[in-house]
Every structure is written in C-alpha cells, then in structure tokens.
Amino acid sequence: MSRFLKRLIQLVVLFVLSILVGLVLIALSTNFTLKLEQKSFGHMTHWGSSWERISEFETWASGTSAKPRGLIIGSSTTYRNLNPYAFEAQMPINWFNYGSSGQSPAISLLLLQHAFERCHIDYVVFDIYGPVAQLEGLESAHDLIYNSKLNFWLKTKLVCGYPEGKLWLRYLYFYTKQFVPSKAYVIQDPKNGTYLKKGFVCSNQPALKHYKKAPERYKVPDFPELAQIAALCKANKCKLILNFTPQLGKKQYLHKAYKSFDKMQHPEFCQRPDLFYDTSHMTCEGANLYSEQVALQLKKYATLSASPR
C-alpha cells in the first residue's frame, strides 16, 4: 500500500510540476506566447473591457474622494445599462460601475467584501438581472481571475467555488505570469463596445428593429446571498438600493423577500425594443436614457451631503 501511495504521490507531483513548467514556457515572452495564450486561456478584456474597468476600480477605491462614494454591482446588464456619469449629473456622489459579465450573487458578495476592504462606500446599487439566481457565475469568475486585482485569498476562494479545470489553469497561469518575465496582452475587441471609464461600457451594436412579442409575466426570485449582501452593507454603514433591470418582453413582479428593500423599477423600458440590442442589454442611447430615469429615482435614496472621504 505504502509503495502504491508513494508512487501515486510521485505521479501527482510530477504532473503538477509538468503543468507548471508548461505554464512557465507559455508565459515566457516569446513570439509564440500570444498564440499559445489564445489557444489555452483567452485574454484580458475578453469580457467587455474588464481589464481596464477592474484596474480602474483599484485607483477609484484607493484615491480620496471629496464626495460620498457609490458602487454599482451586477452582471453585464449593469455595466452596459447603467451609466455612472448620468447618476453623477443628478447627485453629488462619486459613482463607479463594478459590474462583470455573468456575475452571480455569490460573486457580487465577494466583490463587495473586497470593495469594503479597499474603501468606505456610502451607497451600493445592486442591479438585479431577472434570472440572477440561475447565473452560476463561471464567466465572471474567469474574468475576475484573469483581470482583477482581488487579493490572493479572495481569488483562491473564488476558484475553489468552481470545480472547473480551465478556471484552475487560468488561476495558475495568472500567478505564473507574476513570477516570470512576461507581457500582458490586452486584446481590444471592438464588438464589446467602447469603454467610457468609471466601469461603463457603451455598446455599439444596433438596436432591435422587429421585436414583437406580447409581454409575459416573470417573477424575480429570491436568492440566499441577498440577505448576506444586505447584512454586509449594514455592517459597513452603507445604504443598499436594489435596481431591477428591465428585460424586453418581460413584465417583472417581485418575490416578497424584496418588500423590505429600497428598490427601483422601470417597467416602461420593457416594451422599447428600439433601446435594446438584445433582450437584456441596451444600446448606448438606451443606456443613457435609462440611466437618467434611474438616477432621478435614485436621488430620493441618496441623501448624504458632500464631504471628503
């Protein structure tokens, strides 16, 4: 038995070492690195300018702000539909959009924990996408592993939540790149839209033209992380406001768990195909119009006066 276990351990160690050697070879800047990375891992900014957005968050969080800080979290509908500049035009708050593609509630919670560690935040707008409870968050996890500056423990915690081989390899590769002379290849994909800073991505896809579907009723479900997010905000003396992203052709009604929260809804947008490029994401024009309306509603909840923080 001990001979077998010894052999097994030897093989596992050798396997891990050979993977690390392989990763080092890919990471060492050569003419092949870019192609090998593309084949194996994909790239930074693969998901809607995340690299810039997430890096900018660190600057936003570490700098001083004369105004109260507001953070917007949620999935791709958040960073494409909610324009922080439109919010700032309505209220003296320094907003940042910290959305990421396919962000599940569990990842929103993790990001908020990280954000509260970095700075004091006065307001959190948690943008809830209808089928949020179904989001597994894997896409967002990939994004955050490769593009974010979450600390080692948060990244490890994130990776441990997903038994996915590619994510683990990406995680190992991310840290391998810290130790070897390697170049960060940031790929700009024009299809992802234009990054306008403060985490907002202006989508450049054309609006839907012929969307004719009778609106159907849809119940936005409760999810366990909601209470945890509320508790975290409360513990950090931060006001939590929920925003329910409109979905084209869907008439949302809410689970009773949302009753006690400050919340915003704009059902009138659910029947405006001219403002969407798919059933969830808005065009640049749509996002600006929608954000103006959200900001007007948000103003009621954001009552802190400006003071240096």
């Binding site: 093989l11 396997f15 081989g165």
Partner: protein, 424 residues
Amino acid sequence: MGLLMLSTALDFAYGFWVASPNKQKAKLFLWLSIINNLGILGVFKYYNFFATQFQEGFGLLGLHIDPLLLNVALPVGISFYTFHGMSYVFDIYRGQQKPVKSFVDYAVFVSFFPLLVAGPIERAGHLLPQVQKTRTFNYTQALEGCRLILWGLFKKVLIADTIAQVIDPIFAHYTDYNSPTLILAAVGFAFQIYGDFSGYSDIALGTAKLFGFELLSNFRFPYFSRDIAEFWRRWHISLSSWFKDYLYIPLGGSRAGTQKAVRNTFIIFLVSGFWHGASWNFIVWGFIHACAFLPLLLLKRNRNNTDTVAQNATLPSLKELWQMVTTFGIVTFAWIFFRADNLDSALGFLQGILSNWNNLGQVTGKSLLVLGASLLAIDWFLRHNERQLRVPNWQPFRFAIYFGMALAIWLKLGSEQTFLYFQF
C-alpha cells in the same frame, strides 16, 4: 436508500428459503422473490407507462379513465440492484450458490458502490467469494485499476461528453438539420454511448481493483463485431449474459426447436429493450436487434465469430471490414430509437434523414468523425485485452501519455455530463 435496504433484506431472506430441500417450498419462494423484485421494478419504473398505455387503450374504445400516476423519481440503480438480488436467488435455487450467512457480505455484494448505479451486473458466484475472503492490497492490481480509471475518464469526459455537446442540440431540434448532419449525429451517438457506458464500466472495474475486487467485463470492443450476435457478446456483456442465463436458457434457448428459439430470441431482446426504459422506443430498439439476430439464428451462424477480429494481423481483411461496417450501420440505426425522446421523435428523425438532402455543404458536427475515429483507432490497438491500457514501456513516453490524458480530462472538468446509464 430505504428501497435498496428493503430489497437487499428481502433477497437475503429469500436466499435461505429458496435453499430449502423441500422443492415445492423452494419453488414457491423463488416465485415470491421474482414477484417481489419485479414488483419493485414495476411500481417504480413501469407503473406510469402501463397506466398511460391503459388510458390510451381505453381512449381508443371511447372510454375515458383517469389513472393515478406516481410522481416519484426513479430510484438510482434500481434496475441493477434488483438484478443482482435476482441472480443470487436464482443461483441458490439452481444449486449453484449457497446462501451466505453474513448479511453484511450479502449487502456488500448488492450495493458495492462502483457498480451500484450502472453495473456491471455482477453474479453472486463471482463477487460473493471475493467479498467473503480476506483481501490484501496488490500493487500491480491497484496500478492496473488506476490505468483503467484514467482510460474510463478519458472516454467519458473527453469523448462522450464532447460528442454530447454537439449532438444533443441536433437530436433536440432534428427538423432544423439536413440528412448528412442527422446521419452524423446518429453515428456520433453510437460513439457517445460507447464512450459513456464503457467509460463508466472501466471506472467501476478500476475502482474495484483498488479494493482488491475483480468485476465482470462489460465491454469487449463491440464496434469491431462482425455480426449482431458477436455485438451482443461484446456489448453490455453482464446484462446480455444475465438475460441469457436467467431468461433465454430457462425458456428453452435455441435447443427446443426453431419456433421456440425464434420466440425466445424476440423475448430476450424485447425484454432487454424494456429493461432500459418504460417507453416504446426502447422496445423498438430491442425489436430491431432481434430482427437483425434472427437470420443468424435461423442459418445457425450466430456463433461464427467468437474470436478477436484480425487476430494475427495488424489490419482487418476487406471482408471483415465490410462485416464490421454493416454491423455498425445496423447498430447505429437502432441507436436512433434508443436516443430519441420517444417513438415519434425517432420516426421524425428517420424521416429527416430520408428527406432533407438539401444544403449539403452545411454539415454540422464533422468533428464527431475525428473523435469517433480516434476512439476506434485506440481500441483497435487494445483489442486483444480490454482490461489493460497498453502504453509503450519507455517511461517518459508513458508518462507523457498519462499526463496528456489527465490534463485533457482536467480541462474538461466542469462541463461533464451525467452518465447515460444512470437513468436506467
């Protein structure tokens, strides 16, 4: 869990009663055991099927009945552990096995975890003595087990699951695809189910080896069969031999005249189809195999191919190649019924194959051929021994292959799918 415990306890008790020297008493308990085991299967697996069939039958006569339908999930592994129990009682009745005295030993035989949910269906005479004896750890056996697990995982995760990602949407929306794509999907499913089920069996065999057990083989390169009879000696061997020993032979087998042999052949294939699922498409699947087997039986050619194909050659002869291709074609045709959600879908799929010969340039799923061909190529080199993953002895090369396989499996983690045979 409760059902498994009940079934185990009952069969353990029946074992003693069936061993009675009083033949009448033994026969009575044998029948009680059969009723008991088939009753459990019938309630949980077949009740809703029969209830809806009666409803539809009465509907044709203009009578409306509203039967009570059970809303319970099929207990995991029920088809496998009931067959374990039945084989134990049958063997005791026939005097081939003595009832075991230890309930724990018997419970281990029925519920040994690697084979509980999808087989192989073990025989008491083969597994129980291994449970009862003291086992010592065997280094070589454990290494063989690890290799089998690795190979099984590779077949399941890399081949079967990758194919599933391509063909599942095709089977779900078959009306949207042209004939070549549908044919490719059917061929793809043949490889998927083989990779999936034989992969599971390899993992089960390998895991059992780690604990010092040798399980029955379930597959012996079935797609190298030269006729349907040979296919059934190589595909899901533990099930086909179970049906042969406990159904075909007691019914008279092929030695009680041609008429009875034909009847028995149809019975075992139809029952085998029905065992897989309470649905007409599985019964049709069994019927197709029976029809393909029948000419071999009538011409007494069903035992023509009992050796390994191209035994002393690297490549098969043209005749063997043709035989393998035609057998594979029949098997793949039957798989369409096995894979489809119901009989209507299977017939619709076949109609699609016959009628949608348009846009021939737009064929989805060409990658399936590469995956299938790779699996066959590896199998071809292993075909003399299904239990060993034979890799050249030069250590660096061997390790490179193992590590490559492990890495490929690792990269697919997270997108794996449930084993197909878990539903049975």
